[in-house]
């Protein structure tokens, strides 16, 4: 599904290398988690994959279902099936949440040569999916993320994911700023989307999100590289002993 090979990335504005050779493959149907200390390059990886400005790929490759991701515009990556749930979802005053969702859904369908969703079908679908995430009609009407609490913003991300039905979902610290109940709700939303055709990459500092979204594979990232890969037990080890032991071990 997602193949990353020897990915090297620098900041455009300053000569600073963030990713120093990341190798990672996420198979369809699997949930991979990336854990790591602050500044290890986890968020940079998610931004580079989604096509944000400000980063320069100096070496390596990344592809989605065999298609070269790094050559595509952000909207093309989305239409190809990539989705990034933002750590800090952006507020867009003046753009209604519904308008935004519908524009996005139909733009992707159009890009894939599919028919646009009718207003009625769209409404039906969005209402059902919003209900499961406890997103009320008022939140759908309000401008995108404006005045939303931290938990509401994250649920709104998952609603977008549910509507867009991407093949590859990247969740960037989706647990940050969430209380336990909100985290459960978000995790349920994610778990509902798990199926054989879809891959997940869950980026997190803490093991607790992984109690709710059970990973198949856990990677530890440090200093711009994946330094250790294992099963779910690796997350527990981090939780108990911190990163220091693991980092010392691979150093």
């Amino acid at each position: 599904m997602l193949d990353i090979k020897n990915l090297h990335v620098s900041l455009e504005e300053e000569d600073k290398q963030i990713l120093k050779g990341v190798d990672l493959t996420v198979e369809a149907g699997k949930v991979h988690a990336i854990m790591g200390p602050n500044g290890s390059g986890k968020s940079t990886l998610s931004y580079v994959l989604s096509g944000r400005d400000g980063y320069e790929v100096t070496n390596g490759a990344a592809s989605l279902k065999g298609e070269d991701l790094l050559d595509m515009e952000p909207e093309e990556r989305a239409a190809a099936g990539l989705f990034l749930a933002f750590q800090y979802p952006v507020e867009i005053p003046g753009v209604g949440n519904m308008t935004f969702l519908r524009t996005a859904v139909n733009a992707q369908r159009k890009a894939r040569g599919e028919e646009e969703l009718s207003a009625a079908d769209f409404l039906k679908e969005v209402r059902a999916k919003a209900k499961a995430l406890k997103i009320d009609a008022d939140m759908l009407k309000r401008p995108v993320n404006v005045g939303f609490s931290g938990g509401e913003k994250k649920r709104n991300e998952i609603l977008q994911m549910a509507m867009l039905e991407p093949a590859m979902c990247i969740l960037d610290e989706t647990d940050s700023g969430l209380d336990v109940d909100a985290m459960k709700l978000v995790a349920e939303g994610v778990n509902a989307l798990r199926d054989e055709g879809r891959g997940f990459l869950v980026i997190t500092h803490y093991q607790r999100l992984l109690d709710h979204i059970k990973p198949d594979v856990v990677h530890i990232m440090a200093n711009g590289r994946i330094v250790k890969t294992g099963g779910p037990e690796l997350a527990l080890e981090v939780e108990q002993n911190g990163y220091a032991d693991i980092l010392a071990e691979v150093a």
């Binding site: 096509g51 400005d53 952000p74 909207e75 989305a78 990034l84 933002f86 753009v95 308008t99 935004f100």
Partner: protein, 431 residues
């Protein structure tokens, strides 16, 4: 005025190209009074403080520069609205294209008919609000308009007519030079909506004087569009009585030069005045310079005024805002709000703003804000990351930026019509 004598020659040249229509005594007096005001102040020039950001040369020169017609299939705005339609072609009232002027609760007459009658209610208004509006700032082009208007409509509203009145200004002749003057009197407890649209002329001067009596309401939605080379200077003079409501919205697209002045005099307690504008210009399809100049005077207690002006400028388009709120002594409990913002889609476009507050009462609430900015890159990327193509994402953010001014239109049908126009303009100017 710095040196009126130096301005006399261009004024004489301009006046030589104009003639006053035959009128009854009162109307001739009003027109000659305006001509006297014009002679006293002279034509505006770039050196005048009030014209610092907009060069009036092409508005004052004797011959109007030509403007080619912009042809496209899209019907004019408000075509779907149930309205009483009044059509001008190159500034001449077209009775055949217009609806019957009779309607319950309202009296509509052509200016030339009103002004040839010896006795007419318009006597107290024609040129009178314009004359009041000359203090403290000279408005020579409005005086010129009063003196030489060749056509127009006078309206007296006594009830609540069921349909809006729609002035459509068609432009057919590439060299048309047009001066129109309307008078609207909304009597106590009456209510009216006036719509205006159409490119009007190669050079268009229009003045509207509006008297809103106690407990009366005046609503106004206007579009200025299409022809890229058209020039316009418009003046709105309004006087508000107790508990009255005045709401005006203008959408401007294209136009090499547009100057819209609004002078609102709040005289009665508990009155409300809202004035808003949304202007979009793209120099890639022709020069664009748009100037909103607003002067609101609070001379009564517990009144609210609100100005919301937004401009989207692209490829070197220019925007200007000059807005003033004057709160006179005793105008306590005034609530004044003024917002002027420009969204610059590139480094070549420019916006100049001069917001002013002058307050002589101590129990008032007045705020103003003026900002110039670019598209929010974070928001733009967020939209694209969801699959929205870059140009559509820009359009969404442009419409979001304009929303606060468009939301000033109360009527839902009219608001939707304006949004459709903006969307169509964006579709034509993508990239």
């Amino acid at each position: 005025m710095a040196n009126p004598a130096a301005k006399q020659d261009p004024l004489e040249a301009r006046l030589a190209a104009l003639s006053m229509p035959d009128c009854a005594g009162w109307a001739a007096d009003a027109r000659n009074g305006a001509l006297g005001r014009l002679r006293a102040i002279g034509l505006p020039s770039k050196r005048d403080e009030y014209w610092k950001f907009t060069n009036p040369a092409t508005l004052t020169q004797a011959d109007a520069p030509g403007a080619s017609l912009f042809k496209h299939e899209e019907p004019l705005p408000f075509a779907e609205v149930d309205r009483l339609h009044i059509v001008f072609v190159d500034g001449v009232f077209d009775a055949e294209a217009s609806d019957d002027l009779a309607m319950e609760g309202i009296e509509i007459e052509r200016l030339s008919d009103a002004q040839t009658r010896d006795i007419h209610w318009a006597k107290d208004l024609y040129g009178s609000l314009e004359a009041d509006g000359q203090t403290p700032v000279d408005r020579p082009l409005a005086a010129l308009n009063t003196a030489f208007a060749s056509d127009g409509i006078v309206i007296r509203v006594s009830g609540q007519p069921t349909k809006p009145i729609n002035f459509t200004y068609r432009h057919r002749d590439e060299s048309s030079d047009v001066i129109l003057h309307h008078v609207v009197k909304v009597e106590e407890g009456a209510k009216v909506t006036i719509l205006e649209n159409g490119p009007a002329a190669a050079r268009f001067s229009k003045t509207m004087e509006v008297d809103v009596a106690d407990n009366a309401e005046f609503h106004h939605v206007r579009t200025q569009g299409r022809d890229h080379e058209r020039r316009a200077v418009t003046h709105m003079f309004a006087r508000l009585g107790e508990n009255s409501v005045f709401k005006s919205f203008t959408m401007t697209v294209n136009g090499v030069l547009t100057r819209n002045e609004a002078v609102i005099d709040i005289r009665g307690d508990n009155a409300t005045a809202h004035i808003a504008g949304a202007a979009v210009g793209d120099k890639a399809t022709g020069d664009f310079h748009h100037d909103d100049t607003v002067f609101i005077t609070h001379d009564a207690v517990n009144c609210e005024s609100r100005q919301v002006f937004k401009k989207v400028l692209r490829n070197g388009a220019e925007g200007v805002f000059q807005g003033k709120i004057l709160v006179k002594p005793g105008a306590q409990k005034t609530d004044g709000y003024q917002l002027s913002q420009a969204l610059l889609l590139d480094d070549d476009s420019s916006f100049q703003a001069k917001p002013e507050l002058e307050i002589y009462a101590d129990d008032v609430q007045c705020s103003h804000g003026s900002t110039t900015g670019a598209i929010d890159e974070e928001a733009h990327f967020y939209l694209r990351s969801r699959g929205v193509p870059a140009d559509i994402a820009t359009d969404l953010l442009v419409l979001a930026f304009l929303a606060e001014s468009i939301d000033e239109i109360e009527d839902e049908t009219l608001r939707a019509d304006i949004l459709d126009r903006l969307q169509a303009w964006l579709d034509r100017h993508r990239g």
